[in-house]
């Protein structure tokens, strides 16, 4: 029987990983030397296997402890080389607009997500590059909550353009993306027309029998504005009662897929009756030909 010999020198992949590790070390040093006021994201080595990934995590942990980094974003280089993963259109979208957290989580206070949302905008405005994961921010911003709200920059107000939005707002538990609309014999079309001026409408679901509907925006500011401007107003001869929906679907986007929010909202709403109204005429086949 032939015995297998293992080459003592490293394989290509291992060599690649080693060099990557070295690069990482250098970057870490450079980073610490920089001592930026707000630490910039650190690069993680592109490790495919958990065994090696352990090392990566070790490094990351150290960095975290030392306070050198706050979160681990995706390595930018990676996203460039594998461009297929995110379409260009998406990138555009990401840099231009806020995203819509949606979905239903009954016991989670929406405060965190609110903060994280802003934080998100901040980051986007600052880096103008690939945004780090929202969930990351969620955690990190919670840890540094006072600081985050204190440093909440003016860019936020500019982007949202909302006078009602102030740091104080964070303390209120009633913030959300979905508004509840009540009005006699309202329809989806009426709601769509009436509310699309406040922002991007992610989803509308109707409960026709109860004369009400739910409109989900991608930004909480849009929802706020919709409430303040539309409550009590007349649309198509119908008086509307607009308030924040009691059930607030909150979903932290875990990826960049732009339809995530829409699909999540629909799945979370899961209104059994279905909101779509078929507008086709009934076809009759009275004539019996053959």
């Amino acid at each position: 029987m032939v015995y297998l010999h293992f080459p003592s020198n490293l394989t290509e992949e291992e060599l690649m990983l080693q060099t990557k590790y070295q690069k990482l070390k250098k970057k870490k040093k450079a980073l610490q030397a920089l001592k930026a006021p707000k630490p910039e994201p650190e690069k993680t080595p592109a490790l495919k296997r958990p065994a090696e990934a352990r090392d990566a995590r070790e490094v990351a942990k150290k960095l975290l402890k030392s306070g050198a980094i706050s979160a681990i974003p995706k390595p930018c280089e990676k996203t460039e080389t594998t461009g297929f993963k995110r379409s260009r259109g998406l990138e555009r979208k990401l840099s231009s607009s806020d995203r819509a957290p949606s979905g239903f989580q009954p016991f989670s206070s929406s405060q965190g997500s609110m903060v994280s949302n802003e934080e998100h905008v901040v980051q986007e405005a600052r880096t103008k590059s690939k945004v780090p994961n929202l969930y990351e921010n969620f955690i990190s911003s919670r840890e540094t909550d006072p600081e985050a709200s204190a440093t909440s920059p003016t860019t936020l107000k500019e982007t949202s353009g909302s006078p009602t939005l102030s740091p104080l707002k964070h303390q209120k538990p009633t913030v959300g993306h979905t508004v509840y609309v009540f009005g006699y014999s309202i329809t989806e079309d009426i709601l769509k027309k009436a509310f699309q001026s406040f922002g991007n409408v992610v989803n509308i679901s109707m409960e026709i029998e109860k004369n009400c509907g739910f409109v989900t925006f991608d930004k909480t500011s849009s929802a706020d504005r919709a409430i303040s401007e539309m409550n009590g107003s007349m649309v198509s001869g119908i008086q509307l009662k607009v308030s924040l929906a009691r059930r607030q679907p909150v979903i932290e986007p875990i990826n960049d897929a732009s339809s995530s929010a829409t699909w999540s909202t629909i799945a979370a709403r899961n209104s059994q009756k279905g909101s779509y109204k078929d507008k086709r005429d009934l076809v009759t086949y009275e004539e019996e030909l053959f």
Binding site: T44, F84, F104, I254, N255, A267, A268, Y276, L289
Partner: protein, 809 residues
């Protein structure tokens, strides 16, 4: 030493069982449910459960031994995810009762031999894995397991047998190693290394020509699409460099180490793999589907195991097993998938989505109905609305981005799934992100995908809805309004040849005439094929066909029911004017002209015409490849029609085959009352008598006993059908070869690159025919090789055939 007087044991148990039936049955049922449920979630720990169950079984051992043996030997095969739990249980029993351990090992060996003989490859593989795991629990000795491995290695090295057979033996070994690798590494390192070396040698010499045909994507960036055995080998090799430490398998026996290590071990008897026979079917190879890597998952969450880490394989296998067990109940399946034991340690949603898509895109065909994966994904979205829809949306974007290199078969499945999913999500999608497809040429996979999705959505909703669901800029890709196109009612339609007769026929048909009256009217039409001086009678009258088919189908265009009623009532007219293939092709052309804007209707009408034998399969095949259909050639519905045609033919052949086989069996079983029995000298009288006797006990099922004559007639019919089938395949492949060669030659003379989108689609469709009907095509592989796929053929076309051949070689 493990050979006990097992006959006595069985006799004993058997006699006793008869005496107290009801009470005993009750206890047996209880034992069974206890054994089956061990390891399920309870308040107490698994260890204490196992200990308790072991003592219960120990106490009842004498009375219920055979029952316990049977259940215990089946459980690890039926519930492979609980393999280690059962090996621990058997280990505890073996520690208490050495003889039982021996009998159990014997039982497992018997089961393994049986499974190998019967070709139940998946069961056999799980038994090998379980036997390997028994080494960990000190039931089986490591040296005798290595003996089993050696005999499997020998089977894998055997010459002159199909590679699929040898692959299986290799695969069975490789999948067992994660379980027992560490133990062997500690106790028999040298032997383990020897086996690994032998495996490496095997894998190096292996032929992997089939890979190209089985890949979902024909490119390896960003994730290599590896052959299953090679991928598993890389994973096991990686496991070896980690000193055989894996972090996925839950091993309850570690807690019982002190008890188990004192138990005595049994030796496996020598197990020789049954020899290869021509009729044995082996599992086909596959390619491991990879869609995500760790950069796709949220960074805050757990890490996705790497492609070559054995954990990735173990988790995937576990998920596949959950799918196997619950594939009939989508809700249960979704619940079970989300309740995956180590769900917090892995990005579960991503792994589930990858596993479900890998099943959906499995080549040559998915294990279960395509739609079952679609509805499972919807259930998952409902159960996990915060994450699942997002992962799916991300997956959809990934698949769309990579669709350029996706094979045509998977392209179709992706279109079907996505449109189905959209139909459950109010047809909402961020179409704005895909606008780049609008600037691409229309045969580009991305543009094609979007327009095919619209076409499919149309079937799941209606025209207006589909138009409303996308931004206006998509209108070039939207399907036309699905209406019949009746040219006689368009502008200038009155001056078309036959227009007056169309008018007359319409009026006549409104009066509900008999088929004869209709025939009389259309036979008055002049035949444009007839020369003035020609004495040759033309094979058909194209004008008559045109007038009749268009008018009838237009009048029946209101619904499928109307059309079917028309086809049924005037069936004889169709038969009369469309006797030969040319006439049938002419008729199909008319059907297409009328229904060109409504692919679904066209498909249904063609299907109905095949069913009622108005057209023959070969005519449909020739029509699809005809010049008239060239503009539609790359559209999916055309291939849908071709596949339904081939499938119809295949079904027919399979049914006849079964009928003949049944009749033959019946004839052989009851020869006494059939007149043919005496003139059949070949049959042995002894056998005959025995069979007759056994047959008397079973009552006749009222069916007529087939006579030799009847069977012969059936066989003749089968032969005719088989030759039709062969003919159909020959036509289809010949037309493929012609159209592709023509294209290559034309591009050559024009000095252009032949590798256009059109070419890629057509080769993809050729591959699809091979894959979708591989079981039937395989029968004619020889003929195809000698007649069509000869060596002088363009190598690009020939490759497709070679890949198909390599599937089973």
């Amino acid at each position: 030493m493990s050979r006990r007087k097992r006959d006595d044991g069985y006799e004993h148990g058997y006699r006793k069982r008869r005496r107290v039936v009801s009470e005993q049955a009750e206890i047996e049922d209880r034992l069974e449910s206890l054994i089956i449920r061990v390891g399920d979630k309870t308040s107490s720990s698994l260890e204490s459960n196992l200990e308790g169950l072991a003592s219960v079984l120990e106490a009842d051992m004498n009375t219920y031994k055979s029952k316990i043996l049977r259940i215990l030997s089946e459980c690890p095969i039926q519930m492979p995810e609980k393999c280690t739990i059962y090996s621990t249980l058997v280990g505890l029993l073996n520690a208490k009762n050495y003889n039982f351990g021996g009998e159990f090992v014997e039982q497992m060996v018997r089961n393994l031999k049986e499974a190998l003989r019967e070709g139940q490859w998946e069961s056999a593989r799980l038994i090998v894995r379980f036997i390997s795991d028994m080494v960990n629990c000190h039931i089986v000795s490591a040296s005798s397991l290595l003996q089993l491995y050696d005999s499997f290695i020998d089977a894998a090295m055997e010459q002159g047998v199909p590679q699929v057979r040898r692959d299986w033996y290799m695969y069975a070994l490789l999948t067992a190693l994660p379980w027992v690798g560490r133990e062997l590494f500690e106790k028999k390192e040298n032997d383990l290394e020897r086996i690994m070396a032998a495996m490496e040698g095997y894998l190096r010499r292996r032929n992997t020509a089939h890979v190209a045909a089985l890949r979902v994507w024909n490119c390896d960036t960003p994730h290599p699409q590896e052959e299953y055995l090679e991928c598993l080998w890389a994973q096991v090799r990686k496991l070896r460099t980690d000193e055989w430490q894996e972090r996925h398998i839950y091993r309850p026996y570690l807690a019982f180490d002190s008890i188990l290590s004192e138990a005595l071990q049994h030796n496996l008897p020598v197990i020789l793999p049954p020899p290869h026979t021509a009729s044995t079917q082996y599992p086909l190879p596959w390619v491991v589907f990879r869609m995500f890597d760790y950069t796709d998952c949220p960074e805050a969450g757990p890490l996705l195991p790497g492609t070559h880490s054995v954990e990735r394989y173990l988790i995937e296998e576990h998920l596949h097993q959950i799918v196997t067990r619950h594939h009939n109940e989508r809700k249960e399946l979704a619940t079970q998938l989300l309740a995956f034991p180590q769900r917090n340690k892995i990005p579960l949603e991503y792994m589930i989505v990858e596993v479900l898509f890998s099943e959906l895109f499995h080549m040559p065909s998915p294990r279960y109905l395509e739609i079952s994966y679609g509805c499972t994904l919807i259930e998952l979205c409902k159960l996990q609305p915060s994450t699942m829809p997002q992962v799916l949306a991300q997956a959809t974007e990934l698949l769309y981005e990579r669709i350029d290199t996706m094979n045509a078969t998977c392209f179709d499945r992706f279109v079907s799934w996505f449109s189905y999913h959209l139909s459950n999500f109010q047809f909402r999608w961020s179409w704005d992100d895909w606008q780049n497809c609008l600037s691409l040429e229309k045969d580009h996979p991305k543009a094609k995908f979007v327009s095919e999705v619209f076409g499919k959505c149309l079937r799941l909703s209606y025209y207006k809805r589909v138009n409303e669901m996308v931004p206006e800029c998509y209108s070039p890709l939207l399907p036309p309004k699905p209406e019949p196109y009746f040219k006689y009612q368009t502008e200038g339609g009155n001056s078309l040849p036959g227009a007056t007769q169309v008018q007359a026929l319409t009026e006549l048909l409104r009066k509900k005439p008999t088929p004869e009256e209709v025939l009389e009217l259309i036979q008055q039409l002049p035949n444009p094929l007839k020369d003035d001086d020609g004495d040759m009678e033309p094979s058909h009258n194209p004008l008559a066909i045109e007038v009749f088919v268009q008018t009838l189908l237009h009048l029946g265009s209101k619904s499928f029911t109307h059309t079917f009623a028309g086809l049924a009532k005037y069936h004889s007219v169709f038969k009369n004017i469309c006797e030969n293939e040319e006439a049938q092709i002419c008729m199909l052309r008319q059907v297409y002209e009328l229904w060109q804007h409504h692919p679904q209707f066209l498909g249904v009408v063609v299907d109905k015409m095949l069913k009622t034998q108005i057209v023959e399969c070969c005519a449909v095949a020739n029509w699809i490849f005809s010049r008239d259909m060239a503009p539609e050639f790359t559209r999916s519905y055309i291939w849908e029609i071709l596949h339904l045609t081939i499938r119809k033919m295949n079904k027919h052949v399979v049914r006849l085959e079964k009928e003949v086989a049944d009749a033959r069996a019946k004839l052989r079983a009851a020869p006494s009352d059939s007149e043919s029995s005496d003139d059949d000298p070949n049959r042995e009288t002894g056998e005959k008598r025995r069979r007759t006797v056994s047959n008397k006990d079973t009552p006749k099922d009222g069916e007529e006993q087939p006579t030799e004559e009847m069977v012969e007639r059936m066989e003749e019919r089968l032969e005719a059908a088989q030759s039709d089938q062969k003919n159909l395949f020959l036509i289809v492949f010949q037309r493929f070869i012609m159209i592709l060669s023509e294209h290559v030659v034309r591009c050559d003379t024009d000095g252009k690159d032949f590798n256009t989108f059109w070419y890629q689609w057509t080769v993809g469709r050729l591959q699809q025919v091979f894959m979708a009907h591989h079981e039937q095509v395989e029968k004619y592989s020889q003929t195809l090789e000698t007649l069509l796929f000869t060596h002088d053929l363009d190598s690009n076309i020939l490759d497709t055939f070679r890949q198909f051949q390599a599937l089973r070689s």
